[in-house]
Structure formats: C-alpha cells, structure tokens
Symmetry: C2
Subunit: 235 residues, 2 copies
C-alpha cells in the first residue's frame, strides 16, 4: 500500500477521484500519469490503482487490484452525542474516535443543547481524513442532527446506554458492558441530559451508566465511552 | 463548592492569588470583596475562602475552611511522550488526560522527534485549566523536555511499558496490565521510537506493548494508553 491513501466512495462504478482528492493528488502531491496509488471506497475495500489522467479536478484511475480489509472488530460501536458549542471540540472527537475505530455517529438535539444546528459535512471531512491517516477502509456513518426524542425510540441490535451525571442509580460502563456486545451510548450536552430525557431513554431500554470518577467535558466523555468499549474488547 | 475553582499553589503560606487568577477573578468574573470562592493548591486540598482584597493583579483571600480531596485512584499513572510538532496536539493530550486523571508527564526527546524544543509553561497552563474545569485538587507534574536515554534509566516503582509499531514481540497493554499497578508508559514520536531505543528501554525493564489494531497518531496513542489504565482499574 502506498503511504498516501485516497478516498473515492464510488470507485467500483466510476474510477474518478472526487474534486478534493484530485486537487490533493495533482496540486499538492504532484502525481503524474502512470504513478501507482492506493484508493479506498470507505466500504471496506482497498484498490491498487494507476493514475491514467492527472486532471486537477477529476483524476481518472485504472484499477489493477482490489483487496478486502478484514474488519478486526466483532462489535458495533454507535455514539449518539449532543455536539458542543465549540465546533473544534466535536471535530476532535470525530477524528480521534475514527482513528480508534467507530461505526456510527448521531449528533443529538437535546433539551439543554447549546448547539442547535450542525453542518455534518465538516464532520464528514474530518472522518475521511482520519480514516485515510489511520489507513482504514471503513468510513463511519454520520447522521444529521436528530431530536433526542426521535432517536431514543429507534431500534438497535445490542446494549443501549445513556451516560449522565444526575444522582440516580447507575452502573459503571466498564463493569456492565460485556466483550463482543454491540453498543450504543448516548452522551449529553455541557449541561447534561434533563432528568426527563434520562427517564425517556430508560423507558426505551437504555441503561444509565457513569464513565469514571471525574467530571468530563462532553467531547472527552464521548471519547472515553468509545474507548472503554475498545479496551474491554481488547482484553 | 463554588462553580469556579481558583488555583493558588502556595495558599497555605501566602493567601494571595497569582496574577492570572486575580485578573480572571476581578476583570472577568467581576467578583467583589466579601464574595465566597473555592481555591485549590493542586496538592490535594480545597480551601473555602472569602475575597478580602479584589485587586486585579493580586487578590487577597481569607481561608475559612480547608478540605482534603480523597484521591480515588490507587495507582500512579505516568506518561513519557515525544511531543508532536503541532503544539495544539500536545495541548489536547494534556487537557484530556488531566480531565481523566494522570499524575506525571515527561516530554521526551527521541531519535526521530520532530519537536526538539518545548515550552512546558504552555502545557502547565493547560493542565491547570483542565484541573479547575474538572473540579480536581491534584495538579500533575510536567517535566522539562528530557533525553530518552536519560529518562529510561530513571527508577520507577511499578510496571514500565514502551508502545511501538516495530514488528517485534509485544503484548497488548490491555491484556498484560493488572489493576492497581503503578504504570509508566512511553509513547514515541510521529516516526516511532528507533529499534535501538526500544532495545535500550527493554534492557532497562520496559515491556514492549501495542495499544490496539489501528495506526494511531502520537497524541491519540498517548490518550489511549492513559485511558486503558483507567478502564482496567474501573472494572
């Protein structure tokens, strides 16, 4: 595999790099026709290719060989989180969790959310970049901003958890989660989920959990939750 | 405890807030004489105080009550890491690990270090801010930039690990570490530790470990290592 990984979601049907990837290839890396390159579709495949048209806006490649990346994880990890006001904090959570490994993000609109709008394109760009950086072939799904009440009623095949700081009965995530279980974990905004939201989640099968002993910022809690699942699966 | 926590390392002997804390108190929060406030010394104590002189450069306080924060952790966590070129990546590792809980940082100068100099004052400022934000009373130690070869010969009471990506025998950190053990973990620069450095560490009692399945950036590896120790202790 070449050191630089390119992303082209539709390469199987159309071997033409998207605008940004073409610019990076031709303008930044100054690659030329005939140069070899590795491309991923974000769906689990790597393609060894040769650049056949070094166009700054739409590079054309020829596929020489396709290999499937074996997914080493045998659990699904889905984080639902109320994005923080400062966008860069959301961005780093996405970057770090993609590096570590995650399947699905759902940004949530909750009662005390400070952020009421979200451009998910920015987060998708970060996710693509982190996938390429860590040489992976799976791009996680990023949902659009979703109302908490709409989200908690959705079905999920696995354990469902809600992390909160209210003085209500809860377990430690690290003590209750069991290896290989699919996990969906909800993380609240700066001001936490409301007690009503916690009740609504519990009524829909979510288990209340705590993440540790210290008070964590939203984005730290998101990463801590995601990484806890990894550590318990790596034991 | 008040919502805002102030930091004053020498409060036990001199009840005067440092310059920055005084500015924040008077100029930003507009606090006045007679206002109550909570101060920590970073050595494990909280002080309930009353502001007696609201000076923008050196606030004077009167201590009403002192309480000791019980350290909930029964293990020592020390991370030695080669700081990345982009300073903000080092800053976020310090911020996040202080929130989660850490005792000691040693920035290392290693063979392939891209960063050869480091102003540790900037990292200390971040650590203080993260300690206050997460309402803790313990400020971790931050060493000055230290040569790898000088550091690995230093004594440490506990398990010593070196994380690296070379194709050499190693264990998973999550599988070899045992609850309650003190842990010192070394994380290399963007270009990894050299094989010679790994050998030097092993000769000095460090155990080679891997952190997971994906290729992690330096600062992600630092946080992943620190948080792995927490998860295993929280089980």
């Amino acid at each position: 595999m070449s050191d630089t990984l390119f992303f082209c979601p539709d390469i199987a049907t159309l071997p033409q790099l998207p605008l940004q990837e073409s610019q990076h290839c031709v303008k930044v890396l100054r690659m030329r026709e005939g140069d070899p390159m590795t491309v991923t579709d974000g769906h689990g495949f790597f393609y060894e290719c040769v650049l056949t048209e070094a166009h700054p806006k739409h590079c054309i490649v020829r596929i020489e060989h396709r290999t499937e990346m074996v997914k080493k994880r045998d659990f699904v990890l889905h984080i639902g989180f109320a994005p923080t006001k400062q966008m860069e904090r959301n961005e780093w959570f996405v970057e770090k969790s993609v590096e570590i490994g995650i399947d699905w993000f759902t940004p949530l609109l909750s009662s005390y959310s400070e952020r009421k709008e979200l451009k998910k394109e920015r987060l998708e760009k970060i996710a693509i970049s982190a996938m390429k950086q860590s040489q992976q072939a799976f791009l996680p799904v990023i949902d659009k901003l979703t109302r908490f009440s709409d989200f908690v009623v959705r079905p999920f095949e696995g354990r469902k958890f809600i992390a909160h700081c209210h003085d209500l009965p809860k377990k430690r995530l690290a003590q209750t989660y069991r290896k290989k279980e699919n996990a969906l974990i909800l993380i609240g905004p700066e001001g936490d989920f409301s007690e009503e939201e916690v009740g609504m989640a519990v009524a829909n099968g979510f288990e209340p959990v705590s993440l540790g002993e210290t008070r964590l910022r939203t984005e730290t809690a998101c990463l801590v939750a995601a990484h806890t699942i990894h550590v318990l699966n790596n034991q």
